[in-house]
Amino acid sequence: MFRIVSRGRIKSPWIFHLNTGSCNGCDIEIVAAFTPRYDLERFGCLLVGSPRHADVLLVTGPVTRQMLPRLIRVYEQIPEPKVVVAVGTCASSGSPFLGSEMVEGPVDRIIPVDTYIVGCPPRPEAIASGIITAVMSKFR
């Protein structure tokens, strides 16, 4: 039974995307990864509207002070097992916003991150491969 569930997760990871103060660059590239040219949906991925349905959390942005409690809440709402993917340089390392009063990030200071996708913004191919790698290694 358990194996069926975990296979289902690998074949069809559902994704929730949270913007924690990004510049939109990464968010657009994530959406672009779902559109015909790159088509993440062929891997069974689906962008869902509620963290309670999701297996994968995509975080973009350097975690601003206002989004900090929301990030934690969204993280807690996702059922176990879950994968967290930090998309973009500013989610992975905080640069170039490091040093600002309003920035609490990077993401891995707040929640555990499984995969980092760097690039400002990363290409849709990179996002696709990052999500697939994370899912394959965690849900195996």
């Binding site: 913007n19 660059g25 990464c26 590239e29 559109t35 963290p51 170039p96 600002s100 009063e101 309003m102």
Partner: protein, 406 residues
């Protein structure tokens, strides 16, 4: 006074006034904004806006960095109109430093600028199609948009943040081969956008978006909305024509400012679709007229940066969403004393309230999307219109379903 209050209470009892928190994390919004919408039945009677979720303190950060670092920092204010931000900033610096970029550099700046406008408008049209539940069109438009991104990548090496501007010029040159590619891409683009225009004038789509979210002319003037939102309400403003910058002075004959009088969602969409055609015309004219010459000064940028004296300047450009304003004050040692950015969405959001009042719940995402909100650049204020009301939480998914079904 007392009587009035009683009346209001009665109404509340009768209709069970709901307060629906809409966002900040909401599938219909790609970015965090939270709207607190009060409704009576289906009708929206009040809107509160809470912004600031994406506030990163960029202006303060910029004051601690040197000009070149700031140039790349402010590019990250927004991922959609990154070139507008750097152009606006660089123009102010060049004014303070008395540096005149070459003709070719100005033309190349304009070229990227117009390509960015096409990409941004297409992005919005896609999102709009998605909001009215037309996924096929969304996919189609985003597929077309990839072609522009490919061109960006060929010219500058990056799809989103182009890093094209530098003090006194631009960083990348245009080879004849890329120019011919741009030309052929524009041909395809024209065909595709014509098709999109036909769909947006189709009866079914028109029925969904006509007469929705009306912002009339006098209201638009009063609230100082800018860009396509203002032009959709008949306000004839465009920085490109009114205060020409970069190469727009030479290109004046190659584009016209598009206005519509209706002020509804459909008018704003129409303005954007037609603006894409204008942009295509401008790009063609640029490729035709592109002068020869150097694209940047010989001198090292760091040395140029240190030469910029103390001073202040304001600068304006027409970003895809409207008028973008920068105030720059340098300290004469290669740093900044003050940077002030006023972005178009900030002006346009204020118009949102008059658009939303009286509409139905299911129309909220469509209307919000129609001003093309780009919140990553806007988050600096809190607009709160407080009024007591019973709060009852409606699940976001349920709301979403309502929206897509309509």
């Amino acid at each position: 006074m007392v009587v009035e209050r009683n009346v209001e209470k009665e109404v509340e009892v009768e209709y069970a006034r709901l307060r629906i928190p809409f966002g900040p994390v909401h599938p219909a919004l790609k970015e965090p904004v939270s709207l607190r919408v009060s409704v009576r039945g289906e009708e929206v009677i009040d809107v509160d806006m809470v912004l600031g979720h994406v506030h990163r303190g960029i202006e303060a950060l910029a004051e601690g960095r040197n000009l070149i670092q700031t140039l790349y920092l402010i590019e990250r204010i927004c991922g959609i109109c990154s070139h507008s931000h750097t152009t606006c900033f660089i123009q102010a610096l060049e004014e303070i430093g008395g540096i005149a970029p070459s003709e070719r550099a100005l033309y190349l700046r304009t070229l990227i600028f117009e390509m960015e406008r096409i990409h941004s408008h297409l992005l919005l049209l896609g999102v709009m199609a998605y909001e009215i539940g037309f996924d096929t069109l969304f996919m189609f438009i985003w597929h077309v948009r990839e072609k522009i991104l490919d061109l960006f990548e060929k010219i500058t090496g990056n799809r989103i943040h182009h890093a094209m501007n530098t003090i006194g010029g631009v960083r990348w040159n245009l080879t004849p081969q890329i120019a011919s590619e741009i030309n052929s891409c524009m041909k395809e683009m024209e065909k595709a956008v014509k098709y999109v225009r036909d769909i947006f004038t189709d009866g079914t789509v028109e029925k969904r978006i006509c007469g929705l979210g009306v912002l009339d002319y006098s209201e638009a003037l009063k609230l100082c909305v800018v860009g396509p939102t203002a032009r959709g309400s008949g306000v004839d403003i465009d920085v490109r024509r009114d205060h020409p910058y970069a190469a727009y002075n030479d290109l004046k004959g190659n584009f016209s400012v598009i206005t519509r009088r209706d002020g509804d969602v459909h008018a704003r969409i129409e303005v954007r679709v037609l603006e894409i055609f204008e942009s295509i015309n401008i790009i063609r004219a640029i490729l035709e007229k592109l002068p020869e010459g150097p694209i940047r000064p010989e001198e090292n940028v760091l040395r140029l940066m240190r030469r910029i004296p103390e001073g202040e300047a304001v600068s304006l450009v027409e970003a895809p969403r409207g008028e973008l304003f920068y105030f720059v004050k340098t300290d004469g040692k290669g740093g900044l004393r003050r940077l002030k950015v006023r972005t178009p969405t900030f002006s346009n959001l204020i118009g949102l309230k008059s658009m939303l009042l009286g509409c139905e719940i299911a129309d909220i995402p469509v209307i919000v999307a129609s001003i093309d909100p780009c919140l990553s650049c806007t988050n600096r204020v809190t607009i709160v219109d407080q009024r007591s009301g019973e709060s009852k939480v409606v699940s976001l998914d349920a709301l979403r379903r309502v929206v897509r079904e309509k």
